[in-house]
């Protein structure tokens, strides 16, 4: 198949591309700067809102577009125009490019738990409204509606995945409000100290990069007929508390985590639901994130060595 990954230079995009490359697909990787990868792929650099660049990225023979190019929540909050341009207008550009394809391409679109909000403890129904409390979530939820309509009209064949918080992210801590969710595991596993801004009873909805790549691949090839009109999927992530995450570490690792409550962080991530009904997603073939040990194993096997090397540890 001809598969284009927008945001193909990012952390999830590269992992998905590596997986798809082993399966013999014709890959196009598109990002702000053309990705450099150790396998066969057409690599392009450009702006996701530039029609010329998007026509090159999504040629007429395209079967699948995996659209991971996004401005994340903290950045979209800080720069409204940038978030609107990439998260909303970038998705409209995908629809426009798809309309020029030979047949309606599958579009795998990702938003996240940050497109929802709910009081602590809420179990989200499968048809729960997206009520975002941040611009990223509003832009993504709006884009989902438009992709869903374009699917109904036969312009695209979209699957809209709302991803849990992805842990353990490789690399370094960043400024995202959710950065601690990966840091609280990754830093101790690297032998480094870290801080914990929320209380141990704090619950989160999470999945490993390995499972997310499985979901993206499944969304790219699945039969979409059973979806009907509703193109949104809350995949079977794992609900964990911070206390459970700490318990998954060794005592020595755990000693590297220092409680440092931060009301501003708790206020943001505290609006993200931690529990979702996921029977539909499982029925549709999305494999569940089974356990916290599986998340740690994925990090150890897939990303620990590279993260050590990147950080000179």
């Amino acid at each position: 198949m001809h598969i284009t990954i927008l945001g193909g230079g990012g952390f999830l995009g590269r992992k998905l591309a590596a997986r798809l490359a082993t399966e013999g697909h014709a890959l196009t990787l598109f990002d702000m700067v053309a990705p450099v990868v150790p396998f066969a792929a057409r690599c392009l650099g450009g702006d996701v809102t530039d029609p010329v660049a998007m026509t090159a990225a999504i040629p007429p023979e395209t079967d699948v577009v995996v659209h991971l190019a996004a401005v994340v929540s903290a950045q979209a909050e800080a720069d409204y125009d940038l978030g609107m341009r990439v998260n909303l207008h970038g998705t409209l550009a995908v629809i426009e490019a798809a309309r020029r394809c030979v047949k309606p391409p599958r579009v795998v679109f990702t938003s996240s738990v940050a497109s929802f909000s709910a009081p602590v403890g809420t179990v989200m129904a499968e048809d729960a409204r997206q009520m975002p409390l941040n611009s990223y979530g509003a832009e993504k939820a709006a884009a989902e509606l438009l992709l869903q309509d374009a699917s109904r009209r036969g312009m695209v064949d979209a699957v809209n995945l709302r991803l849990p918080t992805v842990i353990v992210r490789p690399g370094r801590p960043n400024k995202a409000a959710s950065s601690f969710v990966s840091s609280v595991l990754r830093e101790p596993l690297l032998g480094l100290e870290t801080t914990l801004p929320v209380t141990p009873d704090f619950a989160l909805w999470v999945a490993s990069p390995r499972v997310v790549v499985d979901w993206l691949r499944h969304a790219a090839v699945m039969d979409t007929a059973p979806l009907g009109t509703d193109r949104g999927i809350n995949p079977p992530g794992l609900t964990v508390t911070v206390a459970e995450m700490l318990a998954a570490l060794t005592p020595a690792e755990r000693a590297l985590v220092r409680a440092e409550p931060d009301a501003s962080v708790q206020a943001i991530v505290g609006t993200w639901p931690a529990r979702f009904v996921d029977a539909r997603a499982r029925r549709l073939g999305f494999a569940p994130q089974v356990s916290l040990p599986a998340i740690l194993a994925a990090f150890r096997e897939d990303d620990l060595a590279a993260t050590r090397a990147e950080r000179g540890l």
Copy 2:
């Protein structure tokens, strides 16, 4: 107050403008062609997606924008690009113009029951998801999310009203799937024959133009603090069956209605919910549509003579 009505030349826009004019507001009426009205108003013609025209329509001193300019469902279904341009990008142009105002203007935005869908008989909760089955509804629901986010950010102060089917519309039958809902009352009241494409047990969610104008005016001046994040309001419309509508006519009028079942019409309007929980809207001061006789009285008093004259009856 300085009030701009986009779509000010339309049926509801003119009625609202006439009402606001009696209250001494400084009115700007904007439509594709500059409206001509028998009261003091600044009347402009232009394209709702043209930044220059919108800057003229929404000058910096604007207090309220009532945004009624829209491509209706049948037209947006037939012409995707036109619907996207007016319903989505037109609303984005309102946000951009609002950002240049001295203070964040109130934006009264209207979508409709067509932005929802549900199995027949469903009572829609106040936080029910908008799951549109038409492009109009998708564009409007997406625009609502972006107006809600712009409100959270303090760029605008939006109230998003999802209007019931408005009856009795003056004028003539049109090609809208919902045209029969007005025709089945209006045509007999004019002494004319009409057809009924759905079964008598068919339920609808309706409101008179008079009540809708009340809602628009209330949305323009209400205190929005109690809305919190959720800027969407399902106002207190009336649930009626077609049988009840027919029963509100005299026997002679009723004899002018001929059953002519049309599966395609029933398929479209059959997805629109007819029942909404509306306690929140009532608490927020939106007066309910009390009865079918009140709807008929509003038509007789407000629009019957003008409709007779317009149609040469």
